[in-house]
Symmetry: C2
DNA sequence: GTCTATAGCTTGATAGAC
DNA sequence: GTCTATCAAGCTATAGAC
């Protein structure tokens, strides 16, 4: 593959990521993507089989790295606790903070991707299948870790709590601007420090309250 | 307006609600909607100005009732506490339980509408504007009530906690089937009793943990 | 690898008969 | 109110020159 080819391919993926994130799969045409990428429509079909194939490629491009940084964060937590179990909050932080850190450090690169994930997660059409395929292996490892931290918790409680975590996390990623409106500017969707300080503690408190047998 | 007309109009709205919920605004054609409704394409444009006008009509049709039942639930809580402030959990329950109750009692009517709201809430394209327009007046009243229950809480903390609540609540409504997959059938997206038992307690614990100054 | 050109279809929307 | 018929525009995707 010529070096020029891969460059164009990445430009197409960048353009597709940006537009799919804003308008969803059906809300964007291949023509719009290629106009944004500054290349001809036919090139989309040279580099990808179809519009749907391009969509999958956009998702896949960053999924591995996303899973890697989260696995690494959980590795680090477990190495800090060779004998005892880590706290629920430490585990939740290993799940959320790597993503918030990516966003904080390279906002332009990750914002659109995370907004896309948020839409997929909440879509009956895509959510069940795609989230399961891309992220459930990682999620299972986190669930195992939490189970060890709370050995008396019922599985059904743990899974529901994960559902609430997932919703809170992805809406926060979507950066829709609603919280900016509601708070009249007091909160800003893109303020990752503010989220970092609150989201993992909020979620860990919920887990403890629901899953800890009294 | 003839009685037959309104009947057809409702059938169009039902069909549009169902399809928009599954595939989003752009993912559905007017032709598909009218096929589902069992009427001719031209009738869509007799009853509504445009596809977008039909979309807004779908949203508007149930928004008032949704807001009414939540206002009524908060009224009831406040009447139970003429002198002291209600607990955070009571207020959260007045926010969430009326919707879960609608879903539990009349699942077929409300499932698609709530799935649609979930997608809009997580869409950068629609979320900021539409959620603000339809629901923020009600949300402000709930924020005021919570502020009275936690007089020492900082506003910025309260708004972020509302954001987490909103994400958890709407993903739960979306019924994407992901939690069914992840839990291998242990949890079911449509099990409103399971959610009722856990969601408000989870959220209230988060609010208390973040907003209560130690 | 990148372009021109175009096939074959579907789209949102409307005009006009009944 | 409801239908038939239709339009201009835009769509995904491809064939073939360079």
């Amino acid at each position: 593959m010529a070096p020029r080819s891969n460059e164009t391919k990445q430009r197409i993926l960048d353009a597709a990521e940006k537009l799919f994130a804003k308008e969803g799969f059906a809300g964007v045409t291949v023509r719009q993507i290629m106009r944004e990428a500054g290349a001809d429509v036919a090139l989309a079909y040279y580099h990808f089989d179809s519009k749907r194939d391009l969509f999958d490629a956009v998702l896949m491009r960053r999924a591995d790295h996303m899973n890697d940084v989260r696995h690494a964060a959980l590795d680090a937590v477990e190495q800090r606790h060779p004998d005892d179990a880590p706290s629920v909050q430490e585990i939740i932080e290993a799940f959320t903070q790597p993503l918030l850190k990516l966003l904080a450090e390279d906002h332009d690169t990750w914002r659109d991707y995370f907004a896309l994930i948020a839409q997929i997660n909440n879509s009956p059409q895509w959510g069940g299948e795609l989230m399961t395929r891309f992220f459930d292996p990682l999620v299972r490892r986190f669930m195992d870790a939490i189970r060890r931290a709370m050995p008396d918790a019922a599985d059904v409680d743990l899974f529901w709590c994960y559902n609430f975590l997932s919703g809170a996390l992805t809406l926060t990623f979507a950066e829709t601007g609603r919280i900016d409106n509601l708070s009249q500017g007091l909160c800003q969707s893109k303020d990752m420090d503010a989220i970092s300080d609150r989201l993992p503690r909020f979620i860990a408190a919920g887990f403890r309250h629901i899953c800890n047998p009294t």
